[in-house]
Protein backbone atom coordinates (compact mmCIF):
# COMPACT_ATOMS: atom_id res chain seq x y z
CA UNK A 1 0.00 0.00 0.00
CA UNK A 2 2.78 2.39 0.99
CA UNK A 3 4.61 1.63 -2.25
CA UNK A 4 1.48 2.37 -4.25
CA UNK A 5 1.01 5.68 -2.47
CA UNK A 6 4.61 6.63 -3.20
CA UNK A 7 4.12 5.69 -6.83
CA UNK A 8 0.93 7.74 -7.05
CA UNK A 9 2.67 10.73 -5.47
CA UNK A 10 5.51 10.41 -7.94
CA UNK A 11 3.07 10.18 -10.83
CA UNK A 12 1.26 13.29 -9.64
CA UNK A 13 4.56 15.10 -9.33
CA UNK A 14 5.59 13.98 -12.76
CA UNK A 15 2.38 14.88 -14.48
CA UNK A 16 2.37 18.30 -12.90
CA UNK A 17 5.67 19.05 -14.62
CA UNK A 18 5.35 22.37 -16.37
CA UNK A 19 5.05 22.22 -20.12
CA UNK A 20 7.18 25.36 -20.18
CA UNK A 21 10.17 23.50 -21.52
CA UNK A 22 8.49 20.76 -23.48
CA UNK A 23 10.81 18.47 -25.46
CA UNK A 24 13.63 18.95 -22.94
CA UNK A 25 14.63 16.27 -20.48
CA UNK A 26 18.25 15.33 -20.04
CA UNK A 27 17.20 12.47 -17.76
CA UNK A 28 15.92 10.68 -20.84
CA UNK A 29 19.54 9.66 -21.41
CA UNK A 30 19.67 8.17 -17.91
CA UNK A 31 16.57 6.13 -18.74
CA UNK A 32 18.33 4.62 -21.77
CA UNK A 33 21.46 3.89 -19.73
CA UNK A 34 19.47 2.37 -16.89
CA UNK A 35 17.56 0.10 -19.27
CA UNK A 36 20.75 -1.78 -20.11
CA UNK A 37 21.54 -5.07 -18.31
CA UNK A 38 24.67 -3.50 -16.82
CA UNK A 39 22.72 -0.53 -15.44
CA UNK A 40 24.52 1.40 -12.70
CA UNK A 41 21.11 2.16 -11.20
CA UNK A 42 18.83 -0.87 -11.10
CA UNK A 43 15.15 -0.20 -11.72
CA UNK A 44 12.53 -2.81 -10.95
CA UNK A 45 10.88 -4.53 -13.89
CA UNK A 46 7.39 -3.44 -12.84
CA UNK A 47 8.45 0.20 -12.92
CA UNK A 48 9.73 -0.23 -16.43
CA UNK A 49 6.42 -1.77 -17.34
CA UNK A 50 4.55 1.12 -15.73
CA UNK A 51 6.66 3.58 -17.73
CA UNK A 52 5.96 1.72 -20.97
CA UNK A 53 2.24 1.66 -20.23
CA UNK A 54 2.19 5.35 -19.41
CA UNK A 55 4.11 6.30 -22.53
CA UNK A 56 1.86 4.14 -24.69
CA UNK A 57 -1.25 5.67 -23.12
CA UNK A 58 -0.03 9.23 -23.50
CA UNK A 59 1.04 8.76 -27.10
CA UNK A 60 -1.95 6.62 -27.99
CA UNK A 61 -4.27 9.40 -26.85
CA UNK A 62 -2.43 12.12 -28.77
CA UNK A 63 -4.55 13.47 -31.61
CA UNK A 64 -3.07 12.03 -34.79
CA UNK A 65 -3.92 15.04 -36.89
CA UNK A 66 -1.70 17.35 -34.89
CA UNK A 67 0.97 18.85 -37.04
CA UNK A 68 2.78 21.84 -35.62
CA UNK A 69 5.62 21.73 -33.16
CA UNK A 70 3.66 23.86 -30.72
CA UNK A 71 0.75 21.43 -30.72
CA UNK A 72 2.99 18.56 -29.60
CA UNK A 73 4.28 20.40 -26.57
CA UNK A 74 1.56 19.34 -24.10
CA UNK A 75 2.02 15.71 -25.17
CA UNK A 76 5.78 16.05 -24.70
CA UNK A 77 5.20 17.56 -21.27
CA UNK A 78 3.16 14.52 -20.27
CA UNK A 79 5.86 12.19 -21.53
CA UNK A 80 8.48 14.09 -19.57
CA UNK A 81 6.25 13.68 -16.53
CA UNK A 82 6.30 9.92 -17.06
CA UNK A 83 10.08 9.95 -17.51
CA UNK A 84 10.58 11.87 -14.29
CA UNK A 85 8.18 9.55 -12.47
CA UNK A 86 10.24 6.55 -13.51
CA UNK A 87 13.42 8.03 -12.09
CA UNK A 88 11.99 9.90 -9.11
CA UNK A 89 12.44 7.09 -6.54
CA UNK A 90 16.11 6.79 -7.49
CA UNK A 91 16.99 10.47 -7.68
CA UNK A 92 18.31 10.77 -4.14
CA UNK A 93 20.04 7.41 -4.07
CA UNK A 94 23.79 7.04 -3.74
CA UNK A 95 23.86 4.89 -6.86
CA UNK A 96 22.29 7.70 -8.91
CA UNK A 97 24.59 10.33 -7.44
CA UNK A 98 27.63 8.15 -8.10
CA UNK A 99 26.43 7.61 -11.65
CA UNK A 100 26.03 11.36 -12.23
CA UNK A 101 29.51 12.01 -10.91
CA UNK A 102 31.13 9.14 -12.75
CA UNK A 103 32.25 8.35 -16.26
CA UNK A 104 29.30 6.13 -17.11
CA UNK A 105 27.06 9.19 -17.15
CA UNK A 106 26.81 10.29 -20.77
CA UNK A 107 24.40 12.38 -22.81
CA UNK A 108 23.65 12.61 -26.50
CA UNK A 109 25.63 15.22 -28.38
CA UNK A 110 24.05 14.43 -31.71
CA UNK A 111 21.24 12.25 -32.99
CA UNK A 112 21.95 9.83 -35.80
CA UNK A 113 19.01 10.38 -38.16
CA UNK A 114 19.36 6.93 -39.76
CA UNK A 115 19.55 5.14 -36.42
CA UNK A 116 16.51 6.99 -35.11
CA UNK A 117 14.57 6.05 -38.22
CA UNK A 118 15.50 2.37 -37.75
CA UNK A 119 14.47 2.41 -34.09
CA UNK A 120 11.16 4.11 -34.93
CA UNK A 121 10.54 1.44 -37.56
CA UNK A 122 11.09 -1.19 -34.89
CA UNK A 123 8.61 0.57 -32.64
CA UNK A 124 6.11 0.67 -35.48
CA UNK A 125 6.30 -3.11 -35.77
CA UNK A 126 5.70 -3.80 -32.10
CA UNK A 127 3.76 -0.92 -30.53
CA UNK A 128 0.12 -0.06 -31.25
CA UNK A 129 -0.22 2.06 -34.37
CA UNK A 130 -1.51 5.33 -32.85
CA UNK A 131 1.26 5.40 -30.25
CA UNK A 132 3.98 4.51 -32.75
CA UNK A 133 2.83 7.22 -35.15
CA UNK A 134 2.60 9.77 -32.37
CA UNK A 135 6.11 8.84 -31.21
CA UNK A 136 7.44 9.45 -34.71
CA UNK A 137 5.72 12.84 -34.86
CA UNK A 138 6.82 13.97 -31.44
CA UNK A 139 10.37 12.94 -32.30
CA UNK A 140 10.19 15.07 -35.43
CA UNK A 141 8.74 17.97 -33.44
CA UNK A 142 11.53 17.85 -30.87
CA UNK A 143 14.19 17.65 -33.54
CA UNK A 144 12.63 20.53 -35.46
CA UNK A 145 12.57 22.68 -32.36
CA UNK A 146 16.21 22.14 -31.42
CA UNK A 147 17.28 22.44 -35.04
CA UNK A 148 15.53 25.80 -35.27
CA UNK A 149 17.14 27.01 -32.06
CA UNK A 150 20.61 25.86 -33.10
CA UNK A 151 20.27 27.62 -36.43
CA UNK A 152 19.29 30.95 -34.95
CA UNK A 153 20.97 31.22 -31.56
CA UNK A 154 24.28 32.43 -30.25
CA UNK A 155 25.64 30.44 -27.32
CA UNK A 156 28.47 31.45 -25.02
CA UNK A 157 30.35 28.30 -25.90
CA UNK A 158 30.13 25.05 -27.79
CA UNK A 159 29.79 23.32 -24.44
CA UNK A 160 26.66 25.31 -23.64
CA UNK A 161 25.30 24.53 -27.07
CA UNK A 162 25.99 20.81 -26.69
CA UNK A 163 24.33 20.66 -23.29
CA UNK A 164 21.34 22.65 -24.49
CA UNK A 165 20.79 20.28 -27.41
CA UNK A 166 21.39 17.20 -25.22
CA UNK A 167 18.22 17.98 -23.27
CA UNK A 168 16.20 17.57 -26.46
CA UNK A 169 18.05 14.53 -27.76
CA UNK A 170 17.79 12.75 -24.42
CA UNK A 171 14.05 13.38 -24.26
CA UNK A 172 13.72 11.74 -27.67
CA UNK A 173 15.88 8.74 -26.70
CA UNK A 174 14.01 8.23 -23.44
CA UNK A 175 10.69 8.29 -25.29
CA UNK A 176 11.76 5.86 -27.99
CA UNK A 177 13.19 3.35 -25.54
CA UNK A 178 9.81 3.27 -23.77
CA UNK A 179 8.07 1.83 -26.79
CA UNK A 180 10.76 -0.57 -27.96
CA UNK A 181 9.88 -4.18 -27.22
CA UNK A 182 11.40 -5.29 -23.88
CA UNK A 183 13.45 -8.01 -25.56
CA UNK A 184 15.26 -5.32 -27.59
CA UNK A 185 16.32 -3.28 -24.60
CA UNK A 186 19.41 -5.32 -23.67
CA UNK A 187 20.89 -4.43 -27.05
CA UNK A 188 20.16 -0.73 -26.81
CA UNK A 189 22.72 1.75 -25.54
CA UNK A 190 22.85 5.52 -25.70
CA UNK A 191 25.20 5.15 -28.65
CA UNK A 192 22.36 3.41 -30.51
CA UNK A 193 20.82 6.90 -30.85
CA UNK A 194 23.88 8.90 -31.87
CA UNK A 195 27.12 10.45 -30.65
CA UNK A 196 27.52 10.81 -26.92
CA UNK A 197 29.61 12.95 -24.62
CA UNK A 198 30.45 12.52 -20.93
CA UNK A 199 28.19 14.39 -18.50
CA UNK A 200 31.16 16.19 -16.97
CA UNK A 201 32.48 17.19 -20.37
CA UNK A 202 29.04 18.50 -21.32
CA UNK A 203 28.81 20.48 -18.10
CA UNK A 204 25.77 18.63 -16.79
CA UNK A 205 25.12 19.57 -13.19
CA UNK A 206 21.65 18.17 -12.54
Amino acid sequence: MKQRLVLLACLALGFSASPALAFKNIEGCDIVTFAAPSSPVPIAAERWQAYRNQAETILGAAPQAQASVQEWRPVAAELIGAQKSLLAPEKGSKAYQDYLAGDSCRVLAKLDAGAIETLLDEVAQSAPEPAATALRRITEAARTQIDNIERSARFRSNRDKTLFAAHYYCFVAGAIVALLPPERQPGITLESFGNTVGCKEAGRTE
Partner: protein, 310 residues
Protein backbone atom coordinates in the same frame (compact mmCIF):
# COMPACT_ATOMS: atom_id res chain seq x y z
CA UNK B 1 37.79 23.84 -58.60
CA UNK B 2 36.59 23.28 -55.06
CA UNK B 3 33.16 22.01 -54.15
CA UNK B 4 31.68 25.41 -53.59
CA UNK B 5 33.02 26.74 -56.89
CA UNK B 6 31.60 23.68 -58.59
CA UNK B 7 28.22 24.26 -56.99
CA UNK B 8 28.40 27.91 -57.92
CA UNK B 9 29.20 27.18 -61.53
CA UNK B 10 26.35 24.65 -61.69
CA UNK B 11 24.01 27.13 -60.06
CA UNK B 12 25.10 29.86 -62.43
CA UNK B 13 24.57 27.64 -65.46
CA UNK B 14 21.07 26.83 -64.28
CA UNK B 15 20.45 30.46 -63.39
CA UNK B 16 21.60 31.59 -66.80
CA UNK B 17 19.11 29.23 -68.42
CA UNK B 18 16.35 30.36 -66.13
CA UNK B 19 17.22 34.02 -66.66
CA UNK B 20 17.18 33.63 -70.41
CA UNK B 21 13.75 32.03 -70.25
CA UNK B 22 12.40 34.69 -67.93
CA UNK B 23 13.93 37.48 -70.02
CA UNK B 24 12.20 36.03 -73.07
CA UNK B 25 8.93 36.10 -71.20
CA UNK B 26 9.53 39.63 -69.95
CA UNK B 27 10.20 40.78 -73.51
CA UNK B 28 6.50 40.11 -74.08
CA UNK B 29 5.56 41.84 -70.81
CA UNK B 30 5.05 39.87 -67.64
CA UNK B 31 3.81 36.33 -68.24
CA UNK B 32 0.19 35.63 -67.43
CA UNK B 33 1.30 32.66 -65.42
CA UNK B 34 4.59 32.79 -63.65
CA UNK B 35 7.39 30.70 -65.12
CA UNK B 36 8.19 27.47 -63.41
CA UNK B 37 11.16 27.88 -61.15
CA UNK B 38 14.30 25.88 -61.67
CA UNK B 39 15.92 23.57 -59.24
CA UNK B 40 19.59 23.37 -60.01
CA UNK B 41 21.55 20.24 -59.27
CA UNK B 42 20.81 17.86 -56.45
CA UNK B 43 18.61 19.35 -53.77
CA UNK B 44 20.61 19.64 -50.55
CA UNK B 45 19.42 17.71 -47.52
CA UNK B 46 17.99 20.76 -45.82
CA UNK B 47 14.61 21.73 -44.39
CA UNK B 48 11.99 22.96 -46.80
CA UNK B 49 12.30 26.53 -45.59
CA UNK B 50 15.97 26.64 -46.46
CA UNK B 51 15.31 25.33 -49.94
CA UNK B 52 12.57 27.89 -50.33
CA UNK B 53 14.88 30.73 -49.30
CA UNK B 54 17.27 29.59 -52.02
CA UNK B 55 14.43 29.53 -54.53
CA UNK B 56 13.52 33.06 -53.54
CA UNK B 57 17.04 34.26 -54.28
CA UNK B 58 17.10 32.40 -57.59
CA UNK B 59 13.76 33.93 -58.51
CA UNK B 60 14.84 37.44 -57.52
CA UNK B 61 17.90 37.14 -59.74
CA UNK B 62 15.83 35.60 -62.53
CA UNK B 63 13.46 38.53 -62.44
CA UNK B 64 16.40 40.88 -62.02
CA UNK B 65 15.00 42.28 -58.83
CA UNK B 66 17.48 44.35 -56.89
CA UNK B 67 16.25 46.03 -53.76
CA UNK B 68 17.54 49.57 -53.91
CA UNK B 69 17.07 52.50 -51.59
CA UNK B 70 17.45 52.76 -47.88
CA UNK B 71 15.34 50.57 -45.63
CA UNK B 72 14.58 52.23 -42.32
CA UNK B 73 13.71 49.72 -39.63
CA UNK B 74 12.00 50.95 -36.46
CA UNK B 75 13.15 49.05 -33.38
CA UNK B 76 10.80 48.35 -30.51
CA UNK B 77 12.85 47.51 -27.44
CA UNK B 78 11.22 45.42 -24.73
CA UNK B 79 13.45 45.53 -21.67
CA UNK B 80 12.57 42.56 -19.49
CA UNK B 81 14.00 42.87 -16.02
CA UNK B 82 13.86 41.39 -12.58
CA UNK B 83 14.35 44.12 -10.05
CA UNK B 84 17.45 45.99 -11.10
CA UNK B 85 18.77 42.99 -13.00
CA UNK B 86 18.33 43.49 -16.71
CA UNK B 87 17.54 47.17 -16.46
CA UNK B 88 19.18 49.05 -19.33
CA UNK B 89 19.77 52.78 -19.56
CA UNK B 90 19.09 54.71 -22.77
CA UNK B 91 22.77 55.21 -23.49
CA UNK B 92 23.24 51.46 -23.93
CA UNK B 93 20.27 51.18 -26.26
CA UNK B 94 21.56 54.10 -28.31
CA UNK B 95 25.05 52.59 -28.46
CA UNK B 96 23.56 49.29 -29.63
CA UNK B 97 21.57 50.96 -32.38
CA UNK B 98 24.61 52.97 -33.45
CA UNK B 99 26.55 49.71 -33.77
CA UNK B 100 23.74 48.11 -35.78
CA UNK B 101 23.71 51.12 -38.07
CA UNK B 102 27.45 50.89 -38.64
CA UNK B 103 27.38 47.17 -39.38
CA UNK B 104 24.26 47.17 -41.58
CA UNK B 105 24.97 50.37 -43.52
CA UNK B 106 26.41 48.45 -46.51
CA UNK B 107 23.02 46.71 -46.82
CA UNK B 108 21.41 50.18 -46.94
CA UNK B 109 19.62 49.48 -43.70
CA UNK B 110 19.15 52.06 -41.00
CA UNK B 111 17.71 51.32 -37.58
CA UNK B 112 15.83 53.82 -35.46
CA UNK B 113 14.47 53.44 -31.96
CA UNK B 114 10.69 53.61 -32.18
CA UNK B 115 9.75 52.50 -28.72
CA UNK B 116 11.29 51.42 -25.42
CA UNK B 117 9.22 49.59 -22.81
CA UNK B 118 10.19 48.16 -19.44
CA UNK B 119 8.56 44.99 -18.11
CA UNK B 120 9.28 43.28 -14.82
CA UNK B 121 8.57 39.57 -15.15
CA UNK B 122 10.64 36.78 -13.65
CA UNK B 123 9.64 33.97 -15.99
CA UNK B 124 10.10 36.13 -19.08
CA UNK B 125 13.46 37.32 -17.78
CA UNK B 126 14.91 33.80 -17.60
CA UNK B 127 12.90 32.19 -20.38
CA UNK B 128 14.26 29.82 -23.01
CA UNK B 129 13.37 29.62 -26.68
CA UNK B 130 10.49 27.28 -27.32
CA UNK B 131 9.08 27.74 -23.83
CA UNK B 132 5.64 28.89 -22.80
CA UNK B 133 7.29 31.98 -21.34
CA UNK B 134 8.70 32.92 -24.74
CA UNK B 135 5.30 32.57 -26.39
CA UNK B 136 3.58 34.50 -23.60
CA UNK B 137 6.17 37.28 -23.59
CA UNK B 138 6.10 37.78 -27.33
CA UNK B 139 2.36 37.52 -27.79
CA UNK B 140 1.88 40.00 -24.96
CA UNK B 141 4.52 42.52 -25.97
CA UNK B 142 5.21 42.07 -29.67
CA UNK B 143 4.06 45.10 -31.62
CA UNK B 144 3.77 45.67 -35.36
CA UNK B 145 6.05 42.75 -36.15
CA UNK B 146 5.54 43.29 -39.88
CA UNK B 147 6.60 46.91 -39.80
CA UNK B 148 9.31 46.91 -37.14
CA UNK B 149 11.97 44.89 -35.40
CA UNK B 150 11.01 43.80 -31.89
CA UNK B 151 14.09 43.34 -29.70
CA UNK B 152 13.63 41.72 -26.32
CA UNK B 153 16.42 41.99 -23.77
CA UNK B 154 16.39 39.36 -21.04
CA UNK B 155 18.62 36.75 -19.43
CA UNK B 156 17.76 33.62 -21.39
CA UNK B 157 18.84 30.35 -19.78
CA UNK B 158 20.95 27.53 -21.15
CA UNK B 159 24.06 29.58 -21.89
CA UNK B 160 22.25 31.54 -24.57
CA UNK B 161 23.40 34.98 -25.56
CA UNK B 162 20.51 35.42 -27.93
CA UNK B 163 18.24 33.91 -30.53
CA UNK B 164 16.09 35.14 -33.37
CA UNK B 165 13.40 34.21 -35.84
CA UNK B 166 14.12 33.82 -39.52
CA UNK B 167 12.22 35.95 -42.02
CA UNK B 168 10.60 32.93 -43.67
CA UNK B 169 9.04 31.95 -40.35
CA UNK B 170 7.09 35.19 -40.28
CA UNK B 171 4.10 33.96 -42.28
CA UNK B 172 3.44 31.08 -39.86
CA UNK B 173 4.21 32.75 -36.54
CA UNK B 174 4.13 36.54 -36.91
CA UNK B 175 3.53 37.02 -33.20
CA UNK B 176 6.85 35.34 -32.35
CA UNK B 177 8.90 37.43 -34.76
CA UNK B 178 11.88 39.31 -33.40
CA UNK B 179 15.20 39.04 -31.66
CA UNK B 180 16.03 38.16 -28.06
CA UNK B 181 19.38 39.20 -26.64
CA UNK B 182 21.06 38.88 -23.27
CA UNK B 183 20.85 42.19 -21.43
CA UNK B 184 24.55 42.03 -20.60
CA UNK B 185 25.47 41.83 -24.28
CA UNK B 186 24.73 45.47 -25.05
CA UNK B 187 27.66 47.85 -25.37
CA UNK B 188 28.63 50.65 -23.00
CA UNK B 189 27.86 48.76 -19.81
CA UNK B 190 29.49 49.93 -16.59
CA UNK B 191 31.01 46.60 -15.73
CA UNK B 192 33.61 45.83 -13.12
CA UNK B 193 34.84 42.75 -14.95
CA UNK B 194 35.14 42.61 -18.73
CA UNK B 195 32.94 40.04 -20.46
CA UNK B 196 33.80 38.70 -23.92
CA UNK B 197 30.27 39.32 -25.17
CA UNK B 198 29.55 42.88 -24.09
CA UNK B 199 30.38 44.91 -27.17
CA UNK B 200 26.97 44.56 -28.78
CA UNK B 201 27.83 41.85 -31.32
CA UNK B 202 25.08 39.51 -30.13
CA UNK B 203 22.48 41.90 -31.51
CA UNK B 204 24.46 42.23 -34.75
CA UNK B 205 24.59 38.42 -34.99
CA UNK B 206 20.92 37.88 -34.14
CA UNK B 207 19.67 40.62 -36.43
CA UNK B 208 21.69 38.78 -39.09
CA UNK B 209 19.49 35.72 -38.51
CA UNK B 210 16.40 37.91 -38.46
CA UNK B 211 17.51 39.22 -41.84
CA UNK B 212 18.00 35.70 -43.23
CA UNK B 213 21.61 34.73 -42.54
CA UNK B 214 22.77 31.38 -41.17
CA UNK B 215 25.81 30.70 -39.05
CA UNK B 216 29.01 30.50 -41.08
CA UNK B 217 29.44 26.95 -39.73
CA UNK B 218 25.91 25.89 -40.72
CA UNK B 219 26.11 22.34 -42.06
CA UNK B 220 29.84 22.08 -41.26
CA UNK B 221 31.73 20.97 -44.35
CA UNK B 222 28.57 19.81 -46.11
CA UNK B 223 27.09 21.71 -49.02
CA UNK B 224 25.39 24.14 -49.15
CA UNK B 225 26.80 25.30 -45.80
CA UNK B 226 25.49 28.75 -45.01
CA UNK B 227 24.30 29.36 -48.60
CA UNK B 228 26.83 32.19 -48.94
CA UNK B 229 29.46 31.75 -51.63
CA UNK B 230 32.05 34.12 -50.20
CA UNK B 231 32.30 32.55 -46.76
CA UNK B 232 34.44 29.43 -46.47
CA UNK B 233 33.00 26.13 -45.34
CA UNK B 234 33.70 25.81 -41.63
CA UNK B 235 33.59 22.50 -39.80
CA UNK B 236 32.85 23.89 -36.34
CA UNK B 237 32.03 27.20 -34.75
CA UNK B 238 34.88 29.38 -33.55
CA UNK B 239 35.44 29.96 -29.84
CA UNK B 240 37.24 32.73 -28.03
CA UNK B 241 39.40 34.82 -30.29
CA UNK B 242 41.06 32.35 -32.64
CA UNK B 243 43.78 33.08 -35.12
CA UNK B 244 42.75 32.77 -38.73
CA UNK B 245 43.38 29.21 -39.86
CA UNK B 246 42.78 27.49 -43.18
CA UNK B 247 39.49 25.61 -43.18
CA UNK B 248 39.84 21.88 -42.54
CA UNK B 249 36.97 21.11 -44.89
CA UNK B 250 37.99 18.96 -47.86
CA UNK B 251 38.35 21.02 -51.01
CA UNK B 252 38.06 24.31 -49.14
CA UNK B 253 41.11 26.47 -49.75
CA UNK B 254 40.01 29.55 -47.83
CA UNK B 255 40.34 30.48 -44.17
CA UNK B 256 37.68 29.79 -41.55
CA UNK B 257 35.49 32.89 -41.29
CA UNK B 258 36.26 33.38 -37.60
CA UNK B 259 35.96 37.17 -37.83
CA UNK B 260 32.52 37.02 -39.37
CA UNK B 261 29.59 38.34 -37.36
CA UNK B 262 27.77 35.06 -37.95
CA UNK B 263 30.42 32.91 -36.26
CA UNK B 264 30.75 32.37 -32.49
CA UNK B 265 33.98 34.28 -31.75
CA UNK B 266 34.19 36.75 -28.88
CA UNK B 267 32.70 40.15 -29.60
CA UNK B 268 36.08 41.86 -29.92
CA UNK B 269 37.05 39.46 -32.70
CA UNK B 270 33.93 39.87 -34.82
CA UNK B 271 34.76 42.24 -37.65
CA UNK B 272 32.58 41.96 -40.72
CA UNK B 273 29.91 40.56 -42.99
CA UNK B 274 30.90 39.59 -46.53
CA UNK B 275 29.50 41.25 -49.66
CA UNK B 276 27.31 38.24 -50.42
CA UNK B 277 25.94 38.25 -46.89
CA UNK B 278 24.95 41.88 -47.40
CA UNK B 279 23.33 40.90 -50.68
CA UNK B 280 21.37 38.13 -49.00
CA UNK B 281 20.26 40.50 -46.23
CA UNK B 282 18.89 42.90 -48.85
CA UNK B 283 17.14 40.08 -50.68
CA UNK B 284 15.64 38.44 -47.62
CA UNK B 285 14.49 41.69 -46.00
CA UNK B 286 13.17 42.98 -49.30
CA UNK B 287 11.27 39.81 -50.08
CA UNK B 288 10.07 38.50 -46.72
CA UNK B 289 9.97 41.71 -44.73
CA UNK B 290 8.51 43.69 -47.57
CA UNK B 291 6.50 46.02 -45.34
CA UNK B 292 9.82 47.48 -44.23
CA UNK B 293 11.11 47.85 -47.75
CA UNK B 294 10.87 51.01 -49.81
CA UNK B 295 10.40 48.81 -52.90
CA UNK B 296 6.63 49.04 -52.77
CA UNK B 297 6.49 50.24 -56.38
CA UNK B 298 7.52 46.76 -57.43
CA UNK B 299 5.07 44.96 -55.20
CA UNK B 300 3.16 43.55 -58.17
CA UNK B 301 6.28 41.86 -59.44
CA UNK B 302 7.11 40.58 -55.95
CA UNK B 303 3.61 39.23 -55.62
CA UNK B 304 4.07 37.42 -58.89
CA UNK B 305 7.31 35.89 -57.64
CA UNK B 306 5.58 34.86 -54.43
CA UNK B 307 2.87 33.08 -56.34
CA UNK B 308 5.43 31.27 -58.45
CA UNK B 309 7.26 29.98 -55.38
CA UNK B 310 4.57 29.24 -52.84
Amino acid sequence: MNRREFLMSSACACLATATAKVDALFAQEAPATAPKLYRCGTPPPTPAAKIQANRVITALRSYRVNFRGKTVIPIRFHIIHQGTQGYLPDRQLKAQVALLNRTYAPASIEFKIADVNLHENESWFTHEPGSDAEVEMKTTLGTDTAGSLNIYTAEPGGGLLGYATFPWWYADTPQLDGVVIHHASLPNASRAQPWPYDLGMTAVHEVGHWAGLYHTFQGGCEAPGDDIVDTAYEQNSAAGCPLRQPSVCPGETRFDPVENYMDYSDDSCMKHFTPMQYQRIKDMVGYYRYKLSPQTSRSALLEQIRKSIE
